[in-house]
Symmetry: C2
Subunit: 274 residues, 2 copies
């Protein structure tokens, strides 16, 4: 990434920025930690080891995604509790893990286009196991979600909406929208990962009880956040143009947040400004 | 298969059997035809062709599975309408198609064990497209299901139960239960396909408004039907033992149906007796 220092409006004094950054780091860290412990409970290494060891490993091997963290942050922004969003956030992480696993699968005829420039990935398991485990992780995520149905709080409709959001992000819609008109995003396989950010924010807003306008704005905010992350992680090409584009998206992302109480958006906004 | 003639209790006269077989063939054919036309509507070949042509092709390329047909038959047996089960049956077919596609994917290191003895599959698309399309078909199935939520009939809880059934059948539970104690079913990758039969029958019973006992019995019936199909399609090993085993499972399957009105089970029972 071009810079690790936060890029924020100049009205903030450096000390305030530093204090907030420290605070925000621990905000995101605490979310990631909560998601991780929920997933560790859901996928213990148990018998048969041949199934659950690869599943456990491949769930936690990929780099963390902010898409799942955004789900929790969006839920909290609209007034929900972390617990309302943690299963959906876990499901989004599982989608990310399954896509990541299959994206790095070695296929017969040639390296996939997105692997040619990437550093080699350490494969602990063979491609057969990676394929099957990825295929097992996808439905497991929906099983977790569907299983969080609770007649006591009558959340079935919300969960079904969340399932639709996730399936669209990782399914055909994510593949179709691969043709991003804004920039040379032509790598089909990476597109679902970026779309997961919009999906994560929308799911969090839905589960936190947000209104339609809040859901839509947070979804767009998440999409910009995902695009920025995708852009900045794809180092080395058109460096100057990329920084400018990231700034444009950052401004558009922050514009979506203007709809919300300015005191409540500090934490969620750092995901596009750090 | 060892025999194409129906094996039924001897109390039926040949003419009755012939008449019923003709009628039943058209019963299953009509179900398959309804599922196919629903899927063709759901997955038209549209732009972008690079996404939807492989998806369409790989959805219809695999051999038909009786698991999806069982879903409709079980729904009708417990008194539901075909329309109640057709989306779930389509989703089950999509699971079958995605699993089939990934089962026949060519991976780098070696042929997968289940491919070594199989006839070669014609691959119209490269492994990269097959992998991504399979990954797109899985979530699309859940999107279809979640999208069949209808506040007018308040079916959200039923749909979530169906999603749980399907995710369990194709997810870790299906992989874990690969160790079938009854026979040398050690091919991990084929197990979800067999489990889909029990799942299909259970989903149909749930959506048709069946009671818990009906759901459980039809699930067990479906599991036996899937095991029989798996056994008989896996030709060439231990022929004599297999026929005997199939007969044992057939008897156990039909025992589950004794719980239901004997006049209503004629059609569904042919799936294990033909």
């Amino acid at each position: 990434r071009p810079s690790t220092s936060p890029v924020r409006p100049s009205c903030h004094k450096p000390t305030t920025v530093a204090a907030r950054v420290a605070q925000n780091l621990s905000y995101w860290d605490s979310i990631h930690s909560d998601i991780e412990s929920r997933l560790k409970k859901a996928i213990p290494i148990r018998e048969p080891i041949s199934v659950f060891e690869p599943m456990h490993h491949l769930t936690f091997a990929p780099p963390k995604t902010t898409a799942s963290a955004l789900c929790v942050a969006a839920c909290e922004l609209v007034g929900g509790n972390r617990e309302d969003a943690i299963v959906a956030a876990s499901a989004i992480h599982l989608m990310h893990a399954a896509i990541y696993t299959h994206d790095h699968l070695m296929l017969t005829d040639r390296l996939r286009s997105d692997q040619e420039t990437e550093p080699k990935i350490q494969h602990r398991f063979g491609p057969n196991i990676e394929l099957l485990t990825g295929d097992g992780i996808f439905p497991f995520a929906f099983e977790l979600l569907a299983g969080s149905m609770d007649p006591a709080v009558d959340n079935s409709d919300k969960i079904l909406r969340v399932i639709i959001e996730i399936t669209r992000a990782v399914g055909t819609e994510g593949m179709v929208d691969g043709q991003d008109s804004d920039v040379e995003f032509d790598q089909l396989s990476c597109q679902p990962l970026r779309r997961l950010h919009g999906c994560g924010a929308a799911c969090g807003a839905i589960l936190g009880g947000g209104g339609e306008e809040e859901v839509e704005r947070l979804k767009r905010y998440g999409v910009y956040a995902g695009k920025i992350q995708g852009l900045l992680s794809d180092m080395g090409r058109h460096e100057g143009g990329k920084v400018k584009l990231a700034e444009k998206w950052r401004a558009l992302a922050l514009k979506e947040l203007e709809y919300f109480d300015s005191k409540k958006i500090e934490q969620i906004s750092t995901i596009v400004t750090m």
